[in-house]
Symmetry: C2
Subunit: 305 residues, 2 copies
């Protein structure tokens, strides 16, 4: 066990998928990350919500080993809201509306008691805020960040500065292409590593994930689930499982990263089986371990390699 | 070693990719399959070409352990021709022109000395011809077929009959969805198995392949190559490596199938590195084995699973 800190969005999501519609549900990158990560290691959550944030959602998060003292409830502000709709095959989504609200204001402060955190995940947010956040840390051991197309296109300079200061970055395949201008994923990953990070994890959704770390490569298919209800939060849950595992073993070498990729994959496979955090808030470590064993068989422990 | 027979197209291809253009090159499903498979096990090739088929291409095939006595050079006919163009990211291709020529006539006969073949691959062709072909076999041990969207949409009845008579089928993900009407790949694979085959291999191109075999699943990423010159023939080379391995070990159990998937993946990764058969006609078993060892590391032999 080691200290694991995340900062990112806490949201109220309205999501439409071929399975149905869920309104004003708990969402946000830091939320998914925290619930996912806390299955493996306690999580310190830093984020900001408005006065409208439902008490029941705070209670839900409090049931897991998540330290909520870093959640600021800002007076006179409203919680970030997102409304999205997925295509029939769930591979594309359209943002119907977004209200930044409190996320359009200044970022949250890290509580003094969190400043010594060793494992840090900067979930997707404005790289300018990510930099401010990094300045407050006293003893980071492993810093990993996420980002999105918006920042790659509109705040590239700050993002490049973030990349200089992190150990690793988690991107999806389209983001890695946008960041580097390279369509070949392997070349793109190599270029990302030249920008600063020692490793890069490329998420490919239903096609799995790839880890590029100081010259070594680890390739992992996705867990094949038959029940995809809502893909929202899969990437953040993946990151939560990834970082949660690394914090739990307090290791950062390639082998630990590869194992962490498996945990991220398995935990994300639960997330997509329900709307919002319904599935992931109910599972326990043993559920993850059971599915992980099934998955390890599927990826080749039956092979005499 | 065991006897391995393939039937399918032998073509003259003109291919345009972002890397350039190659005109009137040797192509066709049975050709790619044969060169790929013959790296692991001798191949008996059955197909038909026209009088225009260049002698140099016959010579090229003759350099590998491919028995060419099943190639009929039909008098007064012309070889099948295909002209295609790939998109910038190589994920889509457009057929610019196609001339069925000899493929629009009756199919080739299996030479008597090939009829006792044990491992059979029916590369993509009209399912009516695939059925005629099956009727000529005397002692098949493992029959696997391929198909395409054209037959799924326009000759479904014959295709369903073929599926009743084969042990396995190799499809790409879009074909499996078209055949079953299911978007979820796992559900689609289960439905395909209910149509007859004991196993189905789903090819996902740069995203790897999946094997579904009597309840068990094996998931494999693609080999990450930085040099994609021309994807033509990758699927047929994959099938050639898959069947070539199974014939070489003369086994058909799940473990052998999983290993065969790895060989198919590795051999296909060479195919895409050049136009036509340039790369695959030059590699030897040791090149395949070397890349295979690198690949096995990338998919998890570094994990303590």
């Amino acid at each position: 066990m080691s200290s694991l800190l995340v900062t990112g969005s806490i949201a109220l999501d309205t999501v439409e998928t071929p399975s149905g519609k869920a309104e004003n549900q708990l969402g946000g990158s830091a939320t998914y990350f925290s619930l996912a990560g806390s299955i493996l290691n306690p999580v310190r959550l830093v984020g900001v919500v408005g006065e409208d944030f439902p008490k029941e959602y705070t209670n839900l998060l409090a049931k897991s080993p998540i330290d909520l003292q870093g959640i600021e409830v800002r007076k006179g502000s409203k919680t970030f809201r997102w409304h999205g709709r997925y295509s029939e095959d769930m591979n594309n989504r359209t943002t119907i509306s977004v209200a930044l609200n409190v996320l359009g204001e200044h970022g949250p402060k890290i509580p003094d008691k969190f400043k010594d955190s060793q494992h840090i995940f900067l979930a997707n947010s404005d790289p300018a805020l990510q930099l401010e956040f990094l300045d407050q840390l006293t003893s980071p051991k492993l810093i990993v960040c996420d980002t999105m197309d918006l920042w790659i296109e509109h705040n590239r300079q700050n993002l490049l500065e973030v990349l200089q200061r992190v150990d690793g970055v988690v991107l999806n395949d389209s983001e890695s292409r946008l960041l580097t201008g390279e369509t070949n994923i392997l070349t793109a990953a190599q270029i990302v590593c030249q920008l600063g990070p020692k490793f890069v994890v490329i998420k490919k959704g239903e096609h799995g994930a790839m880890l590029f770390s100081e010259g070594a490569i680890f390739l992992l298919p996705a867990y094949p689930t038959q029940k995809v209800v809502d893909p929202t939060g899969a990437g953040d849950s993946f990151a939560g499982g990834f970082m949660g595992y690394l914090a739990s073993v307090d290791q950062t070498d390639f082998q630990a990263q590869a194992q962490a990729l498996v945990y991220g994959t398995i935990i994300a496979s639960f997330t997509v089986e329900s709307f919002s955090l319904d599935a992931i808030s109910k599972i326990k470590r043993q559920d993850v371990d059971r599915r992980r064993m099934d998955f390890l068989k599927m990826i080749g422990t039956t092979l005499n390699v």
